[in-house]
C-alpha cells in the first residue's frame, strides 16, 4: 500500500496502517530525537510520544510532505522533553549531553572493528559538538546534514521560513566547525583536516 493510502486508512482509525508508517519512519525519528536529546532513553521516550501524538492528530495533516509533518511532531516532542527536564529539579540538562550506553548502540556487524572504533570516536566527538549548539541550530543541523532534508522540508518541519533555515544552518555549521577545529587532536587521524 502506498504512503497516501496508509495515511488515509490510519486517519480512519486503522492502527495497522499507521504502524506501517511507523516502521518506515522510526529510524529517522529516533535518530533525530537522539541527536537533539543526546541519550537513548530520552530519545526513545520522545519518539514514542511523537508517534502517539501523530496518530491522534492525523486529522490535522493537510497534505504536503508527511515526513516533514512527522518530524515536526518529533521535534516538538523533544522540545517538550527538554522543557520537562528543565522543570525537574532532580535532573540536569548536562545529563543529556553524554550517553555511556551510546557505544553499545553503534555496533554494525558488517564493519571491521578498527573502522568501527574510528567511526565511534568521530561520532562521540560530533555528538558533543552538536550538543553544544543552541537547540534550534542543533535541530536544523541534524535535519539538514545528518537526515538530508531539503531546506523546504526543514522549514515545514520547524514551522519557520527558508531564510531562517539558511541563517540557523549557517550559524550551526560555523559553530560546529570551530568546535571541531579546536579539537582536531581528538579526531581520528583519518578525519583530521588536511589528511584527505
Amino acid at each position: 500500500m502506498d504512503e497516501q493510502r496508509l495515511i488515509e486508512a490510519a486517519s480512519r482509525g486503522d492502527l495497522a496502517a499507521f504502524n506501517q508508517l511507523v516502521m518506515s519512519y522510526q529510524a529517522m525519528a529516533y535518530n533525530l530525537a537522539f541527536r537533539i536529546l543526546g541519550t537513548g532513553d530520552s530519545a526513545q521516550d520522545a519518539t514514542q510520544e511523537a508517534f502517539i501524538k501523530a496518530y491522534r492528530n492525523l486529522g490535522q495533516y493537510r497534505g504536503g510532505s508527511f515526513k516533514a509533518w512527522l518530524l515536526r511532531i518529533v521535534t516538538n516532542a523533544c522540545y517538550d522533553y527538554l522543557r520537562q527536564v528543565q522543570r525537574r529539579p532532580t535532573s540536569s540538562l548536562d545529563d543529556l549531553s553524554a550517553d555511556p550506553e551510546y557505544t553499545g548502540q553503534l555496533i554494525d556487524p558488517l564493519e571491521a572493528p578498527s573502522d568501527y572504533a574510528l567511526r565511534q570516536e568521530l561520532s562521540t566527538l560530533i555528538q558533543r559538538g552538536i550538543a553544544s549548539l543552541p537547540i534550534e541550530q542543533r535541530t536544523v543541523l541534524v535535519l539538514s546534514d545528518i537526515e538530508g532534508l531539503s531546506y523546504e522540508e526543514i522549514a515545514q518541519a520547524m514551522d519557520t521560513s527558508l531564510g531562517t533555515v539558511k541563517s540557523r544552518l549557517s550559524r550551526a555549521r560555523a559553530k560546529l566547525r570551530d568546535y571541531l577545529l579546536e579539537r582536531q587532536e581528538l579526531l581520528p587521524s583519518r578525519y583530521r583536516l588536511g589528511n584527505d
Binding site: 502517539i52 565511534q120 566547525r177
Partner: protein, 191 residues
C-alpha cells in the same frame, strides 16, 4: 568585496547546498578568487558537512509501533455504508443545512412582516367599509366581518403556504440538525 563574517558564512553555507541564486553564485566566485580566508572557510565548512554525513546512524533499539492501549480508547471504525464519510462531507452537509435554516427563518420572518403590514392596512380600511355597510344595510355588517376574517386576520399568509406550527417545527429541527452536524464534525476532526 566587504562581508560581515556571519553574512559570508551564510552565503558559503547556502553555496555548499546549491541554494544560491545566479547573482549570489557570482558573488561567491568573486569572493573565493579575492579572499584566501573565504577559501579556507569554504574548505572547513565542506569538511564539517562531510564529517556530519559520515556520522553513523544510531540503530533503532526497538520498534515504536503502537497498540490500542497506547492510543487510549480505539476509535470505532466506520464500517459499511458510513466508511465513505469524511470531515469534508460533514462540513458540506452542515453548510447546506445552515443555509436552508437561514432561508426558512428569513422567509418566515419576511412573510409574517408583510402579513402584519397588510393586516394593519385592512384594519384601517375596514371601519370605513363597515360604516358604509352599516349605513346601507345592517345585515351587511356580518358579511363584512366574515370577509375581513377570511382575508387574513384568522388565517395570516405563511411562508411557502405551510402552517405556522409546521414551519416552527422545521426551523427547530433544522437548528438541532445543524448543531448535531457541527458536533459530529468537530469530534471527527479531533479524534
Amino acid at each position: 568585496m566587504n562581508f560581515r563574517t556571519e553574512d559570508r558564512d551564510q552565503l558559503l553555507s547556502a553555496y555548499l547546498d546549491g541554494q544560491t541564486s545566479p547573482r549570489e553564485q557570482a558573488r561567491v566566485a568573486a569572493l573565493l578568487e579575492d579572499d584566501p580566508v573565504a577559501r579556507s572557510d569554504l574548505q572547513t565548512l565542506t569538511y564539517t558537512r562531510q564529517l556530519l554525513a559520515e556520522t553513523p546512524r544510531v540503530p533503532v533499539p526497538r520498534a515504536f509501533t503502537l497498540n490500542e492501549s497506547m492510543v487510549g480508547v480505539r476509535r470505532p471504525e466506520r464500517a459499511g455504508w458510513l466508511a465513505w464519510l469524511q470531515p469534508a462531507h460533514l462540513r458540506l452537509a452542515t453548510a447546506m443545512m445552515a443555509i436552508l435554516l437561514v432561508v426558512l427563518v428569513a422567509g418566515d420572518f419576511g412573510t409574517r412582516w408583510q402579513a402584519s403590514g397588510h393586516t394593519s392596512a385592512s384594519a384601517l380600511v375596514a371601519p370605513a367599509g363597515g360604516l358604509a355597510l352599516d349605513q346601507g344595510d345592517p345585515t351587511g355588517i356580518t358579511a363584512a366581518k366574515t370577509a375581513t376574517t377570511e382575508s387574513g386576520i384568522a388565517s395570516p399568509a405563511t411562508f411557502l403556504g405551510l402552517p405556522q406550527t409546521t414551519l416552527l417545527a422545521l426551523e427547530v429541527g433544522l437548528a438541532i440538525l445543524v448543531l448535531l452536524l457541527l458536533a459530529a464534525g468537530w469530534r471527527m476532526t479531533r479524534a
